[in-house]
């Protein structure tokens, strides 16, 4: 008897209508000390629960509206009821809400590597700023001074504001993200590709300041479409001895010395049919984005970046799931290094960039003995991961669900100028547990440990 009441569908009443039919005369919201009434009324309107509308006592829209309001994340509980209206059959729709704290910690971690003793940060959001459903978020990352010659301590800041969709929940949502980065990137000057010794690298100093304006809209059938514009001012200080005319062999730093600008436009599609975003058992999520840097927007860098990211899940016996994760991307043109594909973002066993800043000199492990260890920032990247998940928790107190998972895959990176003597590919993988709990989503895995203590 552990199966959920989804079997209820099989036992449904032939006639879904039961009880009186009401005509809504007015909508009354109670319990919302912080959240704007109009925001709640707007969500009800999406379900057709507006003054003048008819609703049955057993109407499925009532339950859906309750859960839609709950899923906003602003309320601990929501209940709908009716009170007598001016005449028999006419009612006032009463919505009682119990508000909750809406400060969310999205990320919080410390990390260390051979090149940087410590970096860490946090990403925090207030999901219901001023009670208007405004998403106000801020993130930062700071580091100690990396051990690479000429390196500077890193600082990354993000400020994000997202307003509720204009014209109601089915309208267009707008968001603005401001960014400030001041950090170093590391380039090998000597030693073998597999040697992470910071002394064998030279550092640049790059400051970025700018922002992204994004418009997004949800369409039927779980399709989300975005369009965005990005503008950044970039200030790079590159080691002169490695530039043309310098005393050392030239290095392609993939960023212009001195002042430059990045201006791009982008479009994205996101199609999501997963059975559960945290612990999926079936369905898919496919995201495709195209970003173009152009001089029309004042950009010093002209390029087109295309990224495909897809996850596909297949039900297996005993509640297990098989997942296929496919990532592919290409850049045509001259993109700055921070917009290129980075090995740490692809290889689960390496530190990822934090707010776009890299703090590690660690190369890919190179399990296959290829040239992958020399690849850091590239124009082409691909990865295929196969993941098998086994449910280990369901409905035990504060832990709603948990999966043990093991993932294994192959990745590859390359740029146009690479001499592909051996295919720059490598193996990657991960295993651990993924928990969906009352206080959030936790992943505890070998890759998490490795990528946060990279030596």
């Amino acid at each position: 008897m552990d199966e959920g009441p989804s079997a209820a569908d099989a036992a449904a009443f032939p006639d879904p209508r039961f009880g009186p039919r009401y005509v809504i005369e007015a909508v009354r919201i109670a319990g919302n000390r912080k959240t704007e009434t109009s925001l709640i009324v707007g969500e009800l309107a999406v379900m057709g629960l507006t003054p003048g509308a008819s609703v049955d006592a057993s109407d499925a829209r009532v339950e859906a509206a309750r859960y839609r309001l709950l899923s906003l994340g602003y309320f601990l509980d929501v209940h709908l009821s009716v009170a007598r209206g001016s005449k028999r059959g006419a009612v006032v729709l009463v919505v009682n809400v119990e508000e909750r704290g809406t400060l969310v910690i999205n990320e919080l971690f410390p990390a260390t590597s051979e090149a940087t003793l410590f970096w860490g940060g946090a990403d925090v959001s207030e999901m219901n700023f001023l009670g208007r459903g405004i998403n106000l978020g801020a993130g930062f990352v700071i580091s100690t001074k990396p051990l690479v010659p000429d390196a500077h301590a890193g600082l990354g800041l993000r400020l994000h504001v997202g307003v509720p969709p204009l014209g109601g929940p089915n309208g267009v949502g707008l968001s603005v993200t401001g960014l400030y980065n001041d950090g170093s990137e590391f380039y090998r000057t000597s030693g073998a590709d597999s040697d992470p010794d910071p002394g064998r690298f030279i550092a640049t100093r790059v400051r970025r300041i700018g922002g992204v304006l994004t418009a997004g809209k949800m369409f039927p059938h779980n399709l989300h479409v975005t369009a965005s514009v990005r503008e950044e001012a970039v200030s790079a200080t590159l080691p002169a001895q490695y530039l043309p005319g310098g005393t050392q062999p030239q290095i392609d730093f993939m960023v212009q010395n001195g002042e430059s600008r990045v201006g791009t436009i982008a479009a994205g599609l996101d199609y999501d049919t997963r059975s559960d975003p945290v612990l999926p058992r079936s369905g898919m999520r496919v995201a495709l984005s195209v970003e173009a840097g152009t001089s029309l927007l004042g950009s010093s860098y002209s390029y087109v970046k295309t990224v495909f990211d897809g996850s596909f899940y297949v039900k297996m016996p005993h509640g297990h799931a098989l997942g296929f994760h496919l990532f592919g991307g290409s850049i045509e043109g001259n993109a700055p290094y921070f917009d290129r594909f980075f090995i740490g973002d692809l290889d689960l066993l390496l530190p990822r960039r934090a707010l776009g800043i890299n703090f590690s000199t660690q190369p890919a492990p190179n399990f296959l003995g290829t040239s992958i260890a020399s690849q850091r920032y590239d124009n082409y990247a691909g990865r295929l991961l196969i993941e098998y998940a086994i449910p280990i928790w369901r409905h035990h107190g504060w832990v709603y669900g948990g999966d043990a998972f093991v993932a294994f895959g192959v990745l590859g990176m390359a740029s146009d100028e690479d001499m592909l003597k051996s295919p720059p590919i490598d193996l990657t993988g991960d295993f651990g547990i993924r928990l969906d709990t009352y206080v959030g989503v936790f992943t505890i895995s070998i890759a998490n440990v490795l990528s946060r203590s990279s030596f």
């Binding site: 959920g4 989804s6 006592a57 057993s58 997004g216 035990h396």
Partner: protein
């Protein structure tokens, strides 16, 4: 170098993973006395699940909208857990805010629908949340000498699978229509994402239990079937 890193990570990840594993053993379903009887050649069961309704749920019965109850009972062989028969009862309660009475309809999931009017919440709950002489299985299908138990689960306002999927998706995208651009520009790979995750399960409230074991042909005392509650005064109202 890599071997040492991986080994250390495996040890740490395993240690972290092991801690909650210790606590994951499922709680055994509690025991509840169930009335078994033979009627017209069929085994019938009687048991009440009125505890599906707490005080808050009882209050909300008067919301004017439907409250749904799903009761499922599975007869299993005690030794193997193999199901022998399954029965379902679904019910809806709607309070009429003008007539001030409860309408109740129940169904056994086979298309047979019964409707009743209940003057009190207690009676409405009784009609919806009690299995009363529910036919379960032909007696001929039961083997003498075999020990059986009845596993029962009750759900208050169960959510359909489609709605549950939609809700789970809404939950992870709380600010609908907004998503952050991310590639290379966010803390990838969440180690922790802390937020209060509303407890949205597949129903608002659940009750589970198993019956006392019984053996065909061996007379064991069963509790009498749950009876209709006596009417109780409605506070603050003229009668």
């Amino acid at each position: 170098m890599w071997c040492r890193r991986v080994a250390a990570a495996v040890v740490l990840a395993s240690a972290l993973a092991a801690a909650p594993t210790v606590a994951r053993a499922a709680d055994p379903a509690p025991l509840r006395a169930v009335g078994f009887a033979a009627k017209n050649g069929r085994l019938t069961v009687s048991v009440g699940l009125q505890d599906l309704f707490g005080e808050a749920e009882r209050e909300r019965l008067k919301s004017g909208f439907a409250t749904r109850v799903l009761l499922r009972a599975a007869l299993e062989e005690a030794s193997t857990g193999e199901p022998v028969a399954v029965a379902v009862q679904r019910a809806e309660i709607v309070y009429d805010i003008w007539d001030e009475k409860f309408g109740v309809r129940t169904s056994d999931g086979l298309g047979v629908e019964r409707r009743a009017v209940a003057p009190t919440a207690d009676e409405a709950i009784w009609r919806a949340a009690v299995l009363f002489e529910l036919p379960l299985v032909d007696m001929a299908r039961l083997r003498p000498g075999t020990e059986y138990v009845l596993a029962v689960r009750g759900d208050l306002n169960p959510i359909s699978e489609d709605l549950l999927i939609e809700v789970r998706r809404w939950l992870v995208q709380p600010a609908r229509g907004q998503r952050r651009l991310g590639a290379g520009d966010s803390f990838f790979g969440s180690f922790v994402s802390i937020f209060v995750n509303p407890r949205i399960e597949d129903s608002e409230r659940q009750v589970r239990f198993v019956s006392q074991p019984f053996v065909l042909g061996v007379v064991v005392p069963s509790p009498p079937p749950p009876t209709l509650p006596p009417p109780r005064p409605q506070p603050g109202r003229l009668r």
